[in-house]
């Protein structure tokens, strides 16, 4: 979309077609569908009919609040505390490993909190990493092609967060951190050879981890074997059961003790069974729409920091969604990853709210006409290149 070609007379249309608003609309649509399907998926659980729905509605309201705050907060002010924020995140990521502080589920230490109010630290670390990385890459903008002064400091942040997530252990999430981090470096202009070397090292480390983890090797073997793993088999059955138009809301059977994690990682399969191909393609399209709108929105970025901040948020949302969708359709080996806006899970929902809020934050300043009020002009950072001006 080339905003320059849009006549000034259709100011209203221009506002409505603003890419950031498309993102919000898509996110809200996904959230609404998510709540509906989540209710259906979890109503028969032994925790009670409304247990997960109530939690998720509360989470959605909190996420909306967080998003609203994030869309209005002064990012430049927070930039002043960027290393404090990064430090706190790192400390909390370590704290989950401390016995007595962290909550352990199925051998993984990922949560802090008490009772139902427990938060997955690594989810919030996503925002922090994007924030820190966008800052340091913006600061080192001119030295990015330099291995020592440009690439390494930023890569250190990515590697640090990734490592802290790996030791939880949460390999899927760590891979996502690494991938988004590399994408941000790539977008910031890092050299191909630096990136490829990093990827090579990462792949080598990953293989080592795989080899020394019989559990994970088994999973991989299961996936490549003739007989599909139980959970995936049940998920694939759900799409078949749904067919073109689905069996109807509340009529799905796979969540009734057939499909494990029907309300979290594998909720997309429930969408498939209850609402059919139209709805699943719809969900994929909404995520694709968020991604495309996000890229369009990026064009208007006033400075590299905000450009990378929005890009990081966008890629976290899109890549997480993509990995989940690939997993639950049996396209790649199983990896625990929740589906943004739809899966049950408080932390992920809050972080998605924050990320959409950050994208909206930039909209407020970016979409303002250049001839507008003085505040907008003041907020334009001095480094802003003129190339973007019409």
């Amino acid at each position: 979309m080339d905003s320059a070609r849009i006549p000034a007379i259709s100011q209203r249309f221009r506002l409505a077609a603003n890419p950031a608003l498309v993102i919000v609309a898509c996110a809200l649509a996904l959230l609404a569908l998510g709540l509906t399907v989540l209710f259906s998926a979890s109503a028969a659980f032994r925790q009670g009919t409304y247990f997960y729905l109530n939690k998720q509605v509360a989470g959605a309201l909190l996420a909306a609040g967080l998003g609203w705050w994030a869309s209005r907060t002064d990012l430049e002010r927070w930039r002043a505390y960027v290393w404090w924020i990064g430090g706190v995140a790192a400390v909390l990521l370590i704290a989950v490993r401390v016995p007595g502080l962290g909550i352990t589920v199925k051998g993984s230490h990922r949560w802090l909190g008490y009772g139902v109010a427990r938060l997955q630290v690594s989810e919030f670390a996503k925002v922090v990493m994007v924030f820190c990385l966008a800052h340091i890459l913006a600061v080192n903008q001119t030295r990015i092609r330099d291995w020592r002064h440009g690439f390494m400091p930023a890569m250190g942040i990515v590697g640090g967060f990734t490592a802290l997530v790996v030791i939880e252990p949460d390999f899927g999430m760590a891979a996502l951190f690494l991938a988004v981090g590399l994408v941000m470096l790539f977008l910031a202009g890092a050299r191909w050879r630096h990136l490829l070397a990093t990827v090579a090292i990462a792949v080598a480390l990953l293989s080592l981890l795989l080899v020394f983890n019989p559990n994970r090797m088994q999973r991989l073997a299961d996936f490549s074997g003739k007989e599909l793993p139980y959970q995936l088999k049940q998920a694939l059955a759900a799409y078949a059961a749904g067919g073109l138009d689905g069996v109807g809301l509340g009529e799905g059977r796979q969540q009734l003790a057939y499909l494990p994690e029907a309300h979290t990682d594998f909720i997309f399969a429930v969408v498939g069974e209850e609402l059919g191909l139209g709805a699943t393609l719809g969900v994929v399209s909404l995520f694709a729409a968020i991604f495309i709108a996000g890229l369009a929105h990026l064009r208007n970025a006033p400075n590299l920091f905000q450009f990378l901040l929005v890009a990081g948020a966008l890629f976290f949302i899109s890549m997480q969604a993509l990995i989940n969708l690939l997993v639950v359709t049996g396209s790649v080996p199983p990896k625990g990853m929740s589906l943004p806006f739809i899966s049950a899970g408080l932390s992920n929902l809050l972080v998605m709210g924050l990320m959409v809020g950050l994208i909206l934050n930039t909209r407020r300043t970016w979409s303002r006409p250049d001839f507008g009020g003085g505040r907008a002009l003041l907020e334009v950072s001095p480094e802003r290149p003129e190339a973007d001006a019409p």
Partner: protein, 638 residues
């Protein structure tokens, strides 16, 4: 797509990658939703659909007065799912709460043990988690797997308790609760019940051969259980429904449902009280004479319905499987599955025939000392009389019956001729099944053209094989005024609500002799129980007893034995208005004092004893003729 902060191609490259990923997902979805659907759908249906069979309750078998002879009850086999406790505890995240839950469950188990009357330690042992190897090609739910082995979720420890006790065991209110205010009261975790129907016979061995039993595979094997299975079994219902991943039925997805139709109740003509009298009588006979086997049949003379059918030896229906292999014959209903030579009782056929065809009158006389006689141009040897009998004067037909003359019977038969005699035997129901139900022998009645048809021996009941019930039925012809009545056991069939579905009426299979001949025969048969007859000990004061003794030498290794006999007495009373027909057949009894086991000695006393009990029970009135004496009718007939 340029933003100025990054090269255009870098964004394009990433965008292409991500969008390609979404495209892959889209294609996968089309494949999964549409292309691979048929194959997967079949698999899903296999996993989800189930047909739940709802077993019909088998109908009861009642006696004529509604006493239960056979009934069905539901029992609940008890088992423990040892993993249920583990999983319940594992679901509780907070350690301190989990500990409290563990203690609470321990108290509940103690209570469960108390309710069951089991030692606590024994119950605790059942809660030890067990696993088994997966069967080949078994794909288990990973939640059911522990280190590659499958959790055993059904450790049976009780063969079955009553439904009422099971209801108590599963009533949470009877258990101590962790937080009584907040949560639903729950029973001890892990108790599992499995319902099944059992057939019980409240009266034990009473009428065992008539009622029959159901074997361990729920197949009806003998007796009414087998014969009337069509009515008793009912029709199992079923419902098509779905089950969830743990195998629990999902009632909301039931598609088709066919309710079970409970079995019908079969009401027998057997009267438990009469049956008990007969069985007690048999027990006494067995005690006194140590026979090989014995049978008593009591029936209603007017309708042919059986009031009692008892065989000795017998068995307890509830423990049919405890019969020793060598005693397996006691499961047979000897009255229809075994044949014997009826002997003198069979003489009623020749006498009735000769009287019916007006070849003789009761007063016609025969020389019963002749060694042989010319029949159809051939000299035929007549049978010998019993050693104790010497007939120095020609015997009237009445005397032939009363004294049971073999030579007399043979001459009556010859008078009738072979074909006529055979026809009468058939009209009395011999050579044909009684169709009472279940396995039954036809017996053996030679046709006149056969070489073995011996007109000198047949009239006295030799060289003919009959079942006890056939003989009883034949005597019933005389008791019922000449009609051959089908012996029947079932009176009525009722549906599960108790209303009659089918009533059985008496069945007249044909007329054997005229009513007047039958009356004459009845009077002649009274002579048997009169003084001078073969069984004066069968007489009951004030009641006209008609009957016929029989004493047959048993064929042992093709020789008639002089030490093994079948003693019988088949009769009815009151003779001029018969109400009950009683047969007493004792096979190979031995009188305590030694000597031949004559029907008079071994069978007639039982007949009398039984009759004496039946008189008050069935309220049988003595026949008082207008002349003031029961014997008037007899005299008037001569």
């Amino acid at each position: 797509m340029s933003s100025g902060f990054t090269s255009d191609y870098r964004i394009k490259l990433l965008a292409t990658g991500i969008l390609a990923g979404f495209a892959v997902v889209g294609m996968q979805l089309v494949r999964l939703h549409v292309l691979e659907r048929p194959a997967r759908l079949a698999e899903i249906n296999r996993a989800r659909q189930e047909v739940v069979v709802e077993h019909a309750r088998r109908g009861d078998i009642l006696d004529a007065h509604g006493d239960t002879l056979a009934t069905s009850r539901t029992k609940v086999a008890l088992a423990i799912d040892p993993w249920a406790l583990d999983e319940l505890l594992a679901a509780e995240k907070k350690p301190e709460r989990r500990e409290r839950l563990r203690q609470s469950e321990q108290q509940k188990r103690a209570r469960l043990a108390e309710l069951l009357g089991l030692p606590v330690a024994e119950l605790e042992k059942l809660y030890q988690p067990v696993t088994r190897d997966p069967r080949s090609s078994e794909i288990a739910d990973p939640r059911n797997l522990v280190e590659g082995r499958i959790k055993v979720r059904f450790v049976k420890f009780n063969e079955g308790v009553e439904e009422s006790l099971y209801a108590r065991l599963t009533d949470g209110k009877l258990y101590p609760q962790l937080d009584p205010k907040t949560s639903q009261p729950t029973p001890a975790a892990g108790l599992v019940g499995s319902r099944y129907g059992v057939r019980t016979y409240p009266q034990g061995q009473l009428a065992a051969h008539v009622v029959g039993f159901i074997n361990a595979d729920a197949q009806p094997v003998t007796g009414i259980e087998n014969f009337a299975d069509f009515y008793l079994r009912g029709a199992d219902g079923w419902r098509e429904s779905e089950k969830d991943g743990r195998g629990r039925e999902l009632a909301q997805f039931r598609t088709r449902e066919m309710p079970a139709a409970d079995g019908y109740t079969v009401v027998l003509s057997i009267d438990a009280a009469v049956q008990r009298m007969a069985e007690q009588e048999l027990a006494q006979v067995a005690d006194k004479f140590h026979p090989q086997k014995a049978t008593i049949i009591v029936s209603d003379a007017r309708t042919g319905f059986l009031l009692a059918l008892a065989n000795w030896p017998t068995f307890d229906l509830n423990h049919y499987n405890q019969v020793t292999p060598d005693g397996i014959a006691r499961l047979n209903n000897l009255a229809v599955t075994d044949v014997y030579e009826p002997g003198s009782v069979f003489k009623i056929v020749a006498a009735s025939g000769a009287l019916e065809d007006r070849l003789v009158t009761p007063a016609s006389t025969f020389d019963c000392t002749l060694p042989s006689i010319v029949f159809n141009g051939r000299i035929r040897n007549l049978p010998a009389e019993d050693k104790s009998d010497h007939f120095d004067h020609p015997l009237s037909v009445a005397e032939i019956i009363a004294h049971s003359s073999n030579k007399g019977a043979a001459q009556l038969g010859m008078l009738l001729g072979q074909q006529k005699f055979y026809d009468y035997a058939r009209r009395f129901g011999f050579g044909e099944r009684t169709a009472i139900g279940g396995p039954e022998k036809t017996g053996w009645l030679h046709r006149p053209e056969e070489r073995d048809f011996d007109i000198t021996r047949l009239p006295m009941g030799h060289s003919v094989d009959v079942t006890v019930l056939q003989m009883h039925q034949a005597m019933g012809v005389i008791a019922s005024g000449g009609r051959l009545l089908r012996p029947q056991l079932i009176r009525e069939v009722r549906d599960a609500r108790g209303s009659a579905v089918y009533r059985y009426a008496p069945v007249v299979r044909g007329r054997a002799i005229s009513e007047s001949t039958a009356r004459t025969m009845a009077q002649l048969l009274m002579g048997v129980a009169a003084s001078g007859g073969t069984a004066p000990n069968a007489a009951i004061a004030g009641f006209e007893v008609a009957g016929k003794t029989g004493t047959t030498q048993k064929l042992i290794e093709h020789q008639y034995s002089t030490t093994h006999h079948v003693a019988s007495f088949v009769g009815f009373f009151p003779a001029s208005r018969p109400e009950v027909v009683i047969s007493v057949i004792v096979d190979d009894g031995h009188p305590p004092g030694g000597g031949v086991a004559y029907g008079r000695l071994v069978a007639a006393p039982s007949f009398r004893h039984l009759a004496e009990q039946l008189i008050p029970y069935l309220d049988i009135k003595p026949v008082v003729a207008p002349g003031g004496s029961g014997l008037f009718a007899l005299k008037a007939a001569f």
